[in-house]
């Protein structure tokens, strides 16, 4: 446990002294701010079925696709390329502690980035004054649900990034790999819904399964303020599985 905290503090420190994280954070905020702007202007143009914040959360995959690979591709691949993973493995710290510390530091940074979008409604409110009431912009149920979905799904997304980073010593390959995996994971559920396959009778049973793994379905529940334990179980168990495999990979080819 002691090693885990030493490693975690080290990882966080390395994240916060790296210029790349600040550049990533600025780009992320620009992207999210323009997303929010689109959501607002859409709501201003015509009546919408959903509030701007729900629309905003529905675009969660855009930052996930770009930010998660950027945040995680460096973690293990870079250490392996430099050879510092080797020196790390000769200390009494175990592979699991190393992997967990990298995972948690990336996850904390990811959540910090998302947390920076919380003030958006307040900023808008400060500029528009009373013409748009705050309750419209800051719907508590949506905000809490949406951010819990981000927090829960973030576990799995970051784990995917760490896992692909452990497979190779090339950062770019790691980044591409995690991008592809995230792409398939997030879109597969939605695409399968679109395919005519599911209209076949014998495949009808699989609709439940596809619903179960469909991230957008989860988001819809959460953004209505329904906190469901099933996605939590799905994302939690997959995260543990991936981190376990990552530990084995690090152990076997340090």
């Amino acid at each position: 446990m002691r090693h885990f905290f030493t490693l975690l503090i080290h990882e966080l420190r390395m994240l916060f002294i790296a210029p790349a994280s600040y550049i990533a954070a600025v780009l992320y905020l620009l992207l999210m701010a323009s997303m929010y702007y689109f959501a607002l202007s859409k709501a201003a143009e015509a009546p919408q079925e959903v509030t701007p914040s729900v629309w905003f959360f529905q675009t969660f995959w855009v930052p996930v696709w770009f930010m998660v690979p950027l945040l995680t591709m460096k973690s293990i691949a870079e250490e392996r390329r430099l050879g510092t993973l080797e020196t790390l493995m000769t200390t009494p710290a175990s592979a699991l502690q190393i992997v967990l510390s990298k995972f948690l530091s990336a996850y904390l940074f990811y959540m910090l980035l998302w947390a920076m979008t919380i003030p958006f409604p307040y900023i808008v409110n400060a500029y528009t004054g009373d013409s748009v009431p705050l309750e419209r912009l800051f719907d508590e149920a949506t905000m809490i649900g949406g951010y819990s979905f981000i927090a829960i799904s973030g576990l799995l997304y970051i784990a995917i990034g760490i896992f692909s980073s452990s497979l190779t010593r090339n950062q770019l390959v790691a980044g591409m790999l995690s991008f592809c995996m995230l792409f398939v994971l997030i879109l597969s559920g939605r695409l399968m819904m679109e395919f005519p396959l599911l209209t076949l009778e014998w495949l009808d049973q699989s609709r439940d399964f596809v619903d179960y793994i469909n991230s957008f379905e989860h988001l819809e529940d959460f953004s209505r303020g329904i906190l469901d334990s099933r996605p939590l179980f799905l994302y939690g168990s997959l995260t543990m599985l991936l981190l376990g495999i990552t530990t084995l990979v690090v152990e076997s080819k340090a």
């Binding site: 030493t6 390395m14 790296a18 510092t84 020196t87 493995m89 200390t91 340090a254």
Partner: protein, 361 residues
């Protein structure tokens, strides 16, 4: 034999073949028995066995690709061996790697360091990872930096901006941080200038007696000066093991004398005939103004410099040079690796063999 240290750990050694007499000996710091590592069909090391007593400094030599790094990585628990046993302070590496990692300071081949940390920050982080008690971290880091001469100039520098020599010192400081029982260094002097090599040699000398050091190097005079014992490995096998003195006896039983006189080979033979029956002429070359350079060989245990000098003086020969050439580690290395080369490549006799230069003198 139970093993106690740091209180709670008691691990029996598993080797039941050790005769009673040996059991009373102190546990060696490093013990390797029949270690083999295969990468697919390629055998990186094969049946490597050696012992290193505690407090010794041992040089680990071998041509590129001989299996030095593989052996060291197995010792540090980074690689699993295919078969064989490696023990650190009597504890098997394979089954108790967590315990052996606490006793080893390892400096890998290219000395990887994080580029964007400061020296003192990095060493403190490593000290915490190596389980130095929290209260002692500062003192341990300061001491290691003092030993490696980092304290004044490089303390707050960013590692990425350090010169090669300083980086190497940071690596060494890291490996001695937690005062481990065994220090494993893979080519610590690679890429350093002679001053820095001297500094690092002094540093390793300082560790003598306190810690067991096993280091690999290509720079043979370095090893010869700083090591108590030498292990030479070639093509995955140990081909020589012992102090440089013993190895000299084993691999180069003859010493060469070089004399430069105004005598041709036949007249020199006449003059030197009576000295020793084992003194033979190896080569003769004509040099400037009628002088000849002769190389004579005799068994190493004889010291024939004076008799040769006397005999030459009696015959009124003009002498320009007389020298007894001690074979150095380079010659031993060449002889040992060549011998194992002959053993392994022997079936291909008659074809061109990769040229291994003869010991030169």
């Amino acid at each position: 034999m139970p093993f106690h240290r740091r209180g709670k750990l008691i691990i029996p050694t598993f080797n039941t073949n050790v005769p009673e007499k040996e059991k009373s000996e102190p546990t060696p710091a490093i013990e390797v028995v029949g270690l083999t590592k295969r990468y697919g069909r390629v055998k990186a090391i094969q049946d490597v066995s050696f012992r290193v007593e505690s407090g010794q400094i041992v040089g680990f030599l071998g041509p590129n690709g001989a299996g030095k790094s593989t052996t060291m990585r197995i010792l540090c628990g980074l690689l699993p061996a295919t078969c064989g046993i490696a023990r650190i302070c009597g504890i098997p590496v394979a089954s108790h790697s967590n315990e052996t990692k606490r006793r080893i300071g390892y400096m890998p081949e290219h000395n990887p360091l994080p580029e964007d940390m400061r020296v003192v920050e990095y060493l403190r982080y490593r000290a915490r990872l190596k389980e130095v008690p929290m209260r002692k971290v500062r003192a341990a880091v300061d001491e290691a930096m003092e030993i490696c001469d980092l304290q004044r100039k490089a303390r707050r520098r960013v590692i990425g901006s350090l010169s090669k020599g300083y980086r190497q010192r940071v690596g060494i400081a890291d490996s001695i941080l937690a005062e481990p029982d065994v220090i494993v260094m893979d080519e610590p002097t690679i890429g350093l200038d002679p001053h820095q090599i001297l500094g690092i040699r002094n540093l390793i000398d300082n560790l003598r007696g306190r810690m067991t050091v096993i280091l690999s190097s290509h720079i043979l005079p370095e090893i010869e000066k700083s090591c108590d014992r030498v292990i030479i490995i070639n093509q995955g096998r140990v081909v020589a093991n012992g102090s440089p003195k013993n190895l000299r006896k084993e691999f180069l039983p003859k010493t060469t004398y070089r004399i430069r006189v105004n005598l041709t080979q036949s007249s020199a033979q006449k003059v030197l005939r009576g000295i020793d029956p084992d003194l033979t002429f190896a080569s003769s070359e004509e040099r400037e103004d009628g002088f000849w350079e002769h190389r004579l060989q005799a068994p190493s245990e004889l010291i024939l410099t004076e008799p040769i000098l006397e005999a030459l003086q009696k015959s009124d020969t003009r002498i320009r040079e007389i020298a007894r050439l001690q074979p150095n580690l380079e010659d031993i290395f060449m002889a040992a690796t060549r011998r194992s080369w002959d053993e392994t490549v022997a079936p291909f006799k008659g074809h061109t063999r990769p040229g291994v230069p003869m010991p030169k003198h």
